[in-house]
């Protein structure tokens, strides 16, 4: 029934009018205000930067309208696999905005930041308990930086023991940051073939393990959403050869209170607070990627370490073997406040219920879809399920097409084409915060699409048609990149 409303298609620069402004700055209250009298001429901009000249109402209306061009968890089911797009509690935001947290300078004297240091110290302890690790550093800015920190600690550990190990083993099912972070840490990456269900091929692993191997890095549960059941065997095999075992903790939402990396024999694991611990994704970040380690890696922790002595909290810089710093300051503290708030809100039973329900929801979706899409593996899954559009592909409908059609039906899309080892992969992570009603609506839509693939493929290939734009020319965008706005004049 609806027909096109003139879609909003402005950029802030296109609202600009010379002389208009939205700022409110005080008059200068000191005698000399002219920078020309204070700074050598060559340091002063010859011409003013070409920035928008708009009013406050322009700004509010523009960004309010832009926001309406997005889907978010607050407005849509967002089953993006591996990203744990769960509900982000509003109380987290209120707490992160308490002036004592939001308006605190990182270099304020320790005596004047005890509240912040205490919160960080407590969060690190909680994460250590949740993971069964001995120590946790909150400094990494996101998962990938947590990986870098973890691999660098492993590197430092081997070197400290006089061992030059050059390789890191990573399954072909791994997320791209695993090999990227490992290479960045100076290791050569050896890709291991996984079994069909994403399990580690022990024979192949055995073949690759050796004195030149520094670490084995796996995701648990794996990227097919399955728990690697031979995990103890794996960690023992590795340790027998002096190989450290790293767990990518992106899938932590599956195992809270159920099992702990530390107890499984992992030496290192990272967390994504922006996945498991409800800090917002904000359209791409910020995140927070704390890294947990066992005692033998403690000397190498990033500096500074938040320590408690008596009732005082402090930053300990004197750690000669540390891998050093990853960020200018102490980590994404704003995210720490949110994660702390979430953990305190849930308590032990709540955290366990999170994973129970995440697993339940994923299996429910898998069960409802398995007659219509190919499963990637037999048996129950953990917190997410990966199905294949192999069948639909034969009808000319790809995983990407299905994703686009879902947008028209009022859902964000699952992750597509990841993990790479599953053909036409659709990786669906419902999370525990979604209701059966929502899951049923989503499954009905998926089943409808499977039917459309057989009966009316055109509607899928045309999709999306209800979004602010239709399918976009990616190739053209990459061929001659236009990465900034240029005024029509200059254009």
């Amino acid at each position: 029934m609806h027909t096109a409303k003139p879609g909003y298609d402005k950029l802030i620069f296109e609202l600009s009018t010379p002389g208009r402004h939205a700022h409110s700055l005080p008059e200068c209250d000191v005698p000399v205000s002219d920078p020309a009298q204070l700074l050598p001429a060559q340091h002063l901009r010859a011409t003013a930067a070409e920035l928008p000249e708009v009013s406050e109402v322009d700004v509010i209306r523009h960004y309010s309208r832009l926001s309406q061009m997005n889907y978010g968890v607050d407005t849509h089911f967002y089953p993006l696999g591996s990203c744990t797009m769960k509900y982000n509690p509003k109380i987290n935001e209120d707490m992160a905005r308490l002036p004592g947290f939001l308006r605190l300078h990182p270099l304020a004297p320790e005596a004047a930041s005890q509240g912040a240091l205490q919160l960080m110290h407590e969060l690190a302890l909680d994460l250590a308990e949740v993971s069964g690790m001995d120590h946790v550093s909150l400094q990494p800015a996101a998962g990938a930086q947590g990986e870098l920190a973890g691999v660098l600690m492993i590197r430092a550990y081997h070197l400290a023991r006089g061992e030059r190990r050059t390789k890191v083993l990573i399954p072909d099912s791994a997320h791209g940051t695993n090999p990227a972070s490992t290479a960045l840490a100076g290791f050569s990456v050896v890709e291991l073939k996984s079994e069909a269900n994403g399990d580690v091929d022990l024979v192949d692993l055995e073949r690759h393990l050796g004195p030149d191997v520094a670490a084995f890095m796996i995701t648990q549960p794996n990227t097919l959403g399955l728990f690697e059941s031979k995990i103890h065997q794996i960690t023992e095999m590795c340790h027998a050869q002096g190989v450290q075992v790293y767990m990518d903790g992106a899938n932590f939402n599956a195992i809270l209170g159920i099992t702990r990396p530390g107890d499984l024999g992992f030496d290192v694991c990272h967390f994504n607070l922006h996945k498991t611990f409800t800090t917002p994704h904000g359209g791409g970040g910020p995140g927070s990627g704390p890294v947990g380690i066992k005692d033998h890696l403690a000397p190498f922790l990033p500096t500074p370490v938040v320590v408690k002595d008596g009732d005082e909290y402090a930053l300990d810089w004197s750690r000669p073997q540390s891998i050093g710093k990853l960020q200018a300051f102490w980590g994404n503290f704003g995210m720490h406040v949110r994660a702390w708030t979430y953990i305190r809100t849930m308590g032990p039973d709540g955290l366990r219920a999170v994973s129970d329900n995440a697993v339940l929801n994923a299996n429910y979706v898998l069960r409802r879809l398995e007659d219509h899409y190919d499963r990637s593996a037999p048996g129950p899954c953990m917190h997410e399920c990966v199905v294949s559009a192999r069948r639909q592909k034969k009808l000319g409908i790809t995983a990407m097409d299905i994703a686009k059609r879902l947008l028209d039906l009022g859902f964000y899309a699952p992750s597509t084409y990841f993990p790479l080892i599953v053909e036409e992969a659709l990786m669906i992570e419902p999370t525990e915060t979604e209701s059966k009603e929502t899951l049923d609506e989503f499954c009905d839509a998926m089943i409808q699409i499977a039917r459309e693939a057989r009966e009316s493929p055109q509607i899928i290939l045309e999709a999306p048609v209800t979004t602010p734009v239709r399918r976009l020319d990616q190739t053209g965008a990459a061929r001659q990149p236009r990465l900034k706005w240029t005024p029509p004049a200059k254009a």
């Binding site: 832009l66 308490l98 996101a142 990227a180 904000g282 791409g284 299996n363 129950p380």
Partner: protein, 447 residues
């Protein structure tokens, strides 16, 4: 469980549909010995009102920049944060979206990032800027790695005028690729150009200078650039975009890469994170850049639209050969900066620079008049300056806290060379009244 939607009855229904008796049955693949046999030992759940009460008390132990006059800098600054920012970023469609992998359902985020890239390119005077990196420090590190990859050289020279915290991060990132780092000394607060010239060689991938530098002093970027380029190295300039409304853009001074911390652009200090890593480059280097890039394109109907582009640089496609390992960045902080720059605009951002300069110089003069207090350097400075005190800066800082003044950053903790140094930052937010109170308190503290 207010964050868990399904009721026990629904859970039973779902289990029945799945065809198992309990959630435990779904966990069968987890071996018994792998199972945690006790509840997690984390504190019990708290009701919202109790939690708020608790955190209000805990946060009150921190000296916030509303109740204390903040003269702290060194990489995080108490600049004005216009009221529209928080209201807009909290809109759920922005706040709870992921990286825009489905562009048709993410045009809001994509458009705002495209605007951000444009603003950062304009402020830095460069051709292109990416969608953000973690923070200023990791941006410098990524820049050095990129120079290493582009030049295929194994060394870099970093001025001692670069924030020591950043230099530590660069060292961490250079560990893997085994890039040799040399540091160029300062003379009178700015990079000693002769020493710099001597330290560069045919192995030098990049020369890194900061503008204004860690001590607030204004470096001679042009000269540093000539030295770098003469050696076939790239010039990496570390700069804070909030200052570039007034200061000459490094792009105009020969920078190949401009990186830095964008927190000053409307991002709360939040005890140092999340921050905003700015990364801008010359056009010819774009395909070697780390991080995400948003590009303009058209849809099936020829309508303008925006997408993530040049993704073949990135880890999810190029894996171990990616230009960087970064995935999640700080898009929301970039959005804050975009809104900040929109609100401040052409005129406002320049005014922020002018006010900061004026107040910083007023403060420097006032403080330098105090017996025993000296400006550590003669070089011209911008909004930050170093003082040399007649006694331990830590003691002075502690003392001024009583007057609700955060006096500055004792340099010793960051750079041992400056035993009695205190780094003082003055933004446009500091009032003359606060500066005069500081001068009085400092005089008293030293008397």
């Amino acid at each position: 469980m207010r964050y868990i939607s399904n009721t026990p009855a629904q859970q039973r229904e779902m289990l029945a549909t799945i065809g198992v008796g309990s959630i435990e049955d779904l966990l069968a693949r987890i071996p018994a010995k792998a199972r945690l046999s006790r509840p997690l030992n984390v504190p019990a759940a708290m009701a919202e009102s109790d939690l708020v009460r608790h955190l209000r008390r805990l946060s009150a132990k921190n000296a916030n920049a509303d109740d204390f006059a903040c003269f702290l800098g060194g990489g995080s600054y108490d600049h004005t944060i216009p009221s529209p920012i928080n209201h807009l970023i909290l809109r759920g469609e922005f706040f709870t979206a992921y990286t825009p992998y489905q562009p048709e359902a993410s045009q809001g985020t994509l458009r705002s990032i495209f605007e951000y890239q444009t603003m950062m390119a304009e402020l830095t005077g460069m051709d292109v800027a990416n969608a953000s990196l973690y923070d200023g420090a990791s941006s410098v590190a990524e820049a050095v790695l990129m120079a290493h990859a582009v030049t295929e050289r194994k060394a870099a020279v970093i001025s001692k005028g670069v924030n020591p915290l950043y230099r530590q991060v660069v060292e961490t990132y250079c560990e893997g690729p085994a890039i040799r780092l040399k540091s160029a000394p300062l003379a009178e607060g700015v990079t000693d150009l002769d020493a710099l010239r001597k330290s560069v060689s045919a192995q030098t991938a990049a020369v890194v200078v900061q503008y204004p530098n860690f001590f607030g002093c204004l470096e001679d970027i042009k000269a540093a650039g000539e030295i770098a380029h003469a050696a076939g190295a790239l010039l990496i300039v570390v700069a804070d975009p909030v200052n570039l409304g007034l200061l000459t853009p490094p792009g105009a001074l020969g920078a190949d890469l401009v990186v830095g911390e964008g927190q000053g652009l409307g991002v709360p200090m939040s005890f140092g994170g999340p921050n905003l890593g700015v990364f801008a480059a010359k056009q010819e280097l774009v395909r070697r850049m780390p991080g995400r890039l948003v590009g303009a394109t058209v849809d099936l109907d020829g309508k303008r639209g925006f997408v993530l582009t040049l993704q073949t640089r990135e880890q999810h496609i190029r894996r171990e050969k990616a230009t960087s390992n970064i995935c999640t960045n700080v898009a929301l902080c970039a959005l804050m900066a975009t809104i900040y720059v929109s609100v401040m605009g052409k005129e406002g951002l320049r005014k922020v620079g002018e006010l900061s300069t004026a107040k910083a110089h007023y403060a420097a003069q006032a403080f330098a008049k105090i017996p025993g207090v000296e400006l550590t350097f003669k070089a011209p400075f911008f909004k930050e300056f170093a003082l040399t005190l007649p006694k331990s800066p830590e003691r002075v800082v502690k003392r001024l806290i009583k007057d609700r003044i955060l006096a500055g950053v004792p340099l010793k903790t960051l750079d041992r060379a400056y035993k009695n140094g205190l780094l003082v930052a003055v933004t446009e937010k500091r009032t003359r009244e606060e500066i005069d109170a500081y001068a009085a308190a400092l005089t008293a503290a030293l008397a």
